[in-house]
Amino acid sequence: MPLPTMASNPPTSSIRKLTTEQFGEILVEERHMFTFPNGLLGFEQLHHFIIVRDERTEPVRWLLSVEHPELSFPVISPYFLQPDYAVGKEYSDPQRYTPLVILTLGSSGATANMKAPIILDVEHQHGQQIIIPSDKYSTVHPIGVQQTSQR
């Protein structure tokens, strides 16, 4: 009778080493990886990401592709930019869902895509980029400069 091969599969998750130009060498525990079944819009072939902290850019972090470590996306919690940000009822459980917004540097400075946040499901280590249907949020929400000049 075949026995389950528990002993040969220790419960520790495996570790991968990524070499990146921007962040050097990164050791990734598989249990820290987020699976994106649909990738990101325009990057549908990327299915596994990790969040990289870089003290040069805190509180901005980096959503880095495990498959293509040369690809990373600057992300920040939308609550830093807009404390009353709301992604919608189905993702409102803060224990389970963490929204992040992607930053871009354009001709008008840094902007955040508040309309198409990334939703991390921290319970299942899943992620997806959604589009909020209402016109409430901009794809190019200006950050930093405007906020300080208002004060």
Binding site: I102, T104, A110, I143
Partner: protein, 86 residues
């Protein structure tokens, strides 16, 4: 491309789960009602295309380039954090 003519109130079905209803037509603007399962995202194409372009731009941003522009952001968020905790 399949081309269909429809009158106001008429419906097109796609598969067994998606329906498209022509609601109104006024001065060159067609209003369309779409019913689709939750896991099939429906978006205006220009919004979708803009997000793809923004994602592409974001993938080109380096920590060094970002650092030089977010000094002010870090100040701003420090203020936000303070007001949050009080």
């Amino acid at each position: 491309m399949l081309v269909l003519s429809r009158k106001i109130g008429e419906v097109i079905t796609i598969g067994n789960a998606i329906t498209i209803t022509i609601l109104s037509y006024d001065r060159g603007i067609v209003r369309v009602g779409i019913e689709a399962p939750k896991d099939i995202p429906v978006h205006r194409k220009e919004v979708y295309d803009r997000i793809i372009e923004l994602n592409r731009q974001a993938s080109q941003v380096t920590p060094e380039a970002l650092r030089s522009t977010i000094g002010r952001l870090q100040q701003a968020t420090a203020v936000t954090k303070e007001t949050k905790t009080t």
